[in-house]
């Protein structure tokens, strides 16, 4: 059996979407070659062997808050909505940035989404009030934009950096 990372529901091996909450399940097929596609900071070991494939084998993939250095890990799924979960509202983002002062930073409840697929990592602005910027450039809402390692994503005023590398 495998377990859904969102709702802990048990599913048979091979299931692609949780039957309880429709979360995309990534297991026997780990997010895989994504790190190759987004030009990872290749850390070659002392033995000179190339980097191991796959995020399931100790790789680090997430967003680092530039102000505080906190790391938000993005593992176990292939899409993550970013936003803030205000009290008593129905919509809960996958990554809740409330702990980082999201409200004051002008982050919408459902601000943006990070998508991982065969073509790489993309960010989509979900018609947020204050918009999303990549490396200082504003992006069009609902248009997926490809991300590279170390790109700076700005949601409202909050700045996050995409980090993808092997854990040392």
């Amino acid at each position: 059996m495998i377990e859904c990372p969102t709702c802990r529901h048990q599913e048979f091996v091979g299931t692609l979407y949780c039957s309880e909450c429709a979360t995309r399940l990534v297991h026997t097929a780990p997010i895989g070659s994504v790190d190759e596609l987004i030009e990872t900071e290749a850390i070659v070991g002392d033995d000179g062997l190339p980097t191991t494939r796959g995020l399931a084998v100790g790789a680090l993939f997430g967003l680092r808050l530039l102000e505080t250095g906190d790391m938000v890990s993005l593992v176990g799924r292939d899409n993550f909505t970013l936003g803030r979960a205000g009290g008593g509202q129905a919509i809960v983002p996958d990554v809740d940035l409330d702990a980082f002062g999201a409200q004051d930073q002008g982050i919408s409840r459902l601000h943006a989404e990070i998508r991982l697929d065969k073509e790489g990592v993309h960010v989509v602005d979900l018609d947020s009030v204050n918009g999303t910027l990549i490396n200082g450039k504003r992006i069009e809402p609902q248009q997926p934009r490809r991300l590279r390692n170390k790109d700076i994503i700005q949601l409202g005023r909050l700045r996050l950096q995409l980090i993808s590398r092997l854990r040392s």
Binding site: M1, E11, F12, V13, G14, T15, L16, Y17, C18, S19, E20, C21, A22, R24, T28, A29, P30, I31, G32, S33, R53, G54, N79, T81, A90, I91, V92, P93, L110, E113, D117, K118, L126, Q142
Partner: protein, 492 residues
């Protein structure tokens, strides 16, 4: 090559079997079938065949030659078939597991290029609801839709117009339909009034279709209703099953918020048809024209997926994705409806594989794809289709095919909606509301603002009144189903 089983199937070994495996399989078969031991009818013959199979397969050179023969023989069979099929699997290999695992098969069925390119004659019954609630715009739009269809029919077509309320009547016979002025006059006589007895309408429609039943053409029934039938649901479903057996497809169209979507879905899916939901009567004309136009592009009817899945395998669910999204049953044979000339019928099958031991390959299913090719004197040749998969201890690390994940993602949203509705009916309104909120979040992330709003409205309604609205149920069901339409997924 002899008809019947190939040597591998005869011995029960995979095509990739080693000499050792073949020898073991032969010994078992030989012990079982030896003439000294066994006197069952045909056993000696089988014993000789098994001997022959072992003789060939245990010799490297002879086996290679045989493999080549077998491949070309099967290639000929496949090219002679009226159909082409491809299967994409969600994983390239299964795991040797002592627990069940889930696997998905995406099956595409296309017509072979040499099938006759004709516009088939259409034997059509339009079964129209004329209950009180149809009065006004709904009936007016239906009349103009019918007139449009009649203008596009050819002399070979037979079109019958049936109306029903508490009972059914034939309003326009095929002969009358060929004279526009007569048809127009007859249609203007339709009066709204009475209840909704769908079974009556279906039976009268079916009687008409059977009078003009054509083996070279299409036999189709389109049901238009805005209401609920009471007490004759089972009779309706029996008629649908009868239609499926006799090559008649049912298309059901529900108008407004009060029709019984479950019955309409069930009627359509049993026959391989589909269901449309219209929230305004203005859409009636274009929907009717769309259905009629697609009938004219049909190259084979009564398309079926037959055969069986392996003993270790269960078919858990199936969903037709093309030409129109429709949840189908979980048993074989499966009626898939009409095969379009320039298109494809695509079905996603979800299967559960029970614990499998240390085997290296599993024959998942042995399907046969069959249908009735249209056109005078056309013989259809069924297509045999074996689906196999390697089994190993190493998981497949490649991500599954994009087509499969995309379709399953949309189907899982459709299923969330189904679950929420089921929970609401059981009185678990808090749980159902949470599910709809989750659905809304995911819809919003997909850019489906209208549908997300509808889901949130219904979640809100559940909290306050503990019930879903009739309208919301339909908007969410057909809205999430429509996410699978080609235009949405970017697939041709």
């Amino acid at each position: 090559m002899t008809q019947g089983l190939d040597f591998y199937t005869l011995l029960g070994v995979p095509r990739s079997a080693s000499v050792k495996e073949i020898r073991r399989a032969y010994r078992e078969a030989a012990l079982r079938l030896h003439p000294d031991k066994n006197t069952g009818p045909g056993d000696t013959e089988l014993f000789l065949k098994v001997n022959k199979a072992y003789e060939i397969l245990s010799d490297m050179d002879q086996r290679a030659a045989y493999d080549q023969d077998l491949a070309s023989h099967e290639a000929v069979l496949v090219t002679r078939s009226s159909f082409k099929a491809t299967v994409v699997q969600s994983r390239r290999r299964l795991l040797q597991l002592d627990e069940p695992q889930v696997h998905y098969l995406l099956l595409d069925i296309e017509p072979n290029a040499d099938l006759p390119a004709i516009r088939p004659p259409i034997n059509l019954a339009l079964v129209l609801d004329r209950s009180t609630s149809m009065r006004g715009a709904r009936l007016d739009q239906l009349r103009s839709a019918v007139l449009k269809i009649l203008q596009e029919t050819s002399r070979e077509d037979s079109t019958s117009i049936v109306t029903f309320s508490d009972r059914a009547e034939l309003v326009v016979s095929p002969d009358q339909a060929r004279e526009m002025s007569v048809a127009r006059a007859r249609l203007s006589l339709i009066q709204a009034g009475g209840g909704t007895e769908i079974g009556q309408g279906l039976r009268t429609g079916l009687n008409e279709l059977e009078k003009y039943l054509s083996r070279e053409g299409i036999n189709h029934l389109i049901l238009f209703t805005d209401g609920r039938t009471y007490g004759d649901e089972n009779e309706c479903l029996e008629i649908a099953d009868y239609c499926a057996e006799h090559g008649i497809t049912i298309h059901s169209v529900g108008i407004g918020n009060d029709f019984s979507d479950r019955l309409l879905d069930d009627l359509a899916s049993r026959t391989g048809g589909s269901t449309a939901f219209l929230d305004t009567p203005q859409a009636i004309v274009s929907v009717m024209e769309g259905i009629h136009e697609s009938l004219g592009r049909t190259v084979a009817t009564r398309l079926r997926l037959e055969g069986a899945v392996a003993q270790q395998v269960d078919l858990r669910s199936s969903f037709r994705l093309l030409p129109e999204p429709m949840p189908m049953g979980d048993s074989l044979p499966m009626h898939l409806g009409n095969l379009p000339r320039d298109g494809v019928v695509r079905v996603l099958l979800e299967i559960v594989i029970h614990p499998i031991g240390k085997i290296t390959e599993l024959l998942l299913a042995h399907f046969t794809i069959d249908g009735d090719v249209l056109g005078v004197g056309s013989e259809s040749v069924a297509l045999p289709l074996q689906v196999r998969i390697p089994v190993s201890t190493e998981p497949d690390t490649e991500p599954p095919a994009e087509q499969i994940t995309a379709a399953l993602g949309q189907i899982s949203l459709y299923r969330l909606q189904e679950k929420a509705r089921h929970e609401a009916e059981l009185g678990q309104s808090a749980q159902a509301a949470r599910r709809l909120e989750n659905l809304a979040t995911q819809l919003l992330a997909n850019g489906e603002r209208e549908l997300a709003k509808a889901a949130l409205n219904e979640a809100d309604r559940l909290v306050h009144s503990r019930r879903l609205s009739n309208e919301g149920e339909k908007v969410l069901k057909y809205g999430t189903r429509a996410l699978l339409l080609p235009a949405r997924t970017g697939d041709s």
